[in-house]
Symmetry: C2
Subunit: 203 residues, 2 copies
Amino acid sequence: MTTATVRNPDVTRQRLLEAAFTEIYQHGYQGMRVDDVLKRTGLGKGAFYHHFTSKHALGCAVVDEIINGEMGQRWMDALGETEDPIPALEQVMDLIVESETGNDGVFLGCPLNNLAMEMSAQDVAFRQRIEELFSQWINLIARAFERGQQAGTVRNDIDAQEAGMFLVASFEGCVGLAKATQNMDNFIICRKQITHYLNSLRP
Amino acid sequence: MTTATVRNPDVTRQRLLEAAFTEIYQHGYQGMRVDDVLKRTGLGKGAFYHHFTSKHALGCAVVDEIINGEMGQRWMDALGETEDPIPALEQVMDLIVESETGNDGVFLGCPLNNLAMEMSAQDVAFRQRIEELFSQWINLIARAFERGQQAGTVRNDIDAQEAGMFLVASFEGCVGLAKATQNMDNFIICRKQITHYLNSLRP
DNA sequence: TTACAAACAGACTAGTTGGTCTGTTATCGA
DNA sequence: TCGATAACAGACCAACTAGTCTGTTTGTAA
């Protein structure tokens, strides 16, 4: 009598997505191998091509579901409906960077930015998804700034959208420099400058 | 009577390097194909493996010679021995971004940062080279700030090294966001904020 | 209970890719 | 002039890789 293997297609699909995310995070989309995703999950080719039409479709689904979900949740949680976004932003930036170090001690940076640098100039499907996530991210911060302006915690003479965009850009830049040098001290230094910038947004 | 083909090993090597740079710039190191480099140069496998031991060695040589050379020259030219680095920095940032758009209109971003995001967490040889280039770059700017401090064009109470590091990080962040969204307007917006930051370094 | 479709396993394939190996030609010092 | 060697060309190869195809098992609706 053999053990009856339980089937749960939704869980299987999710496992594939999460394994793919990890592989993409470590090796990039082009460096990600379908076989490695399968090894990580213990599944076979049949399962994979039952749930996804191609490697490309899997990559897109990772952006849509994993990266979007993770980022949306974190920044949404952090900013929420706060009327004093500046300390909230500082907190979430540190929190995120802490969690982006691989289990082997290698700092992998921001999954979204990694994929953006690799794929935005190469593949339209990726670019559109990445652009959408950046847009949502910036808007989330911009609206938080606007609430701060109404509550008097943020200067009224600054453009919330432009400030949000620069915050995202400079944050990604700092994370990227830390990844490039594999040195967290550099992130600390850069983050200090971001703090100066955020303080300059105070009334 | 057949035309005698002229041989010039130094030129051949340089052609391989430049073709490889273009391919890496467009597709990343992992996406770069040796065959495509050969097609671009019109050379054969023999020439390639005569001048380089492997694809990996070629990639390293591209960083050492092409990227290092190009970046060093531009920023050295721009900053030189100037005692007023702020306008010089603004000028070179705009100049560089203009030249980083591919001939098909796709904005490819910064070659060094692209490679850093792709390879720094994966390959030690690449990471060391990339780290060295970032270090040189930041030091060049930091020393320009120090000259500015002595000449009175830059505030004395700021840390030149930290300011240089943040400038590089935020610049790369802005370039990256423009690449991610394939929208130069976003770079303009972010660059304006960098201008604010630079002005805050004035005495 | 029993068709039947969904959910897989896994061998197989066709195309790709970095690298090798043999051979040929240009260059240059003696 | 003439070998010797550097500088190539290009066929070839082994490993890899995304994707296919056939077959098997599990869930499920009638």
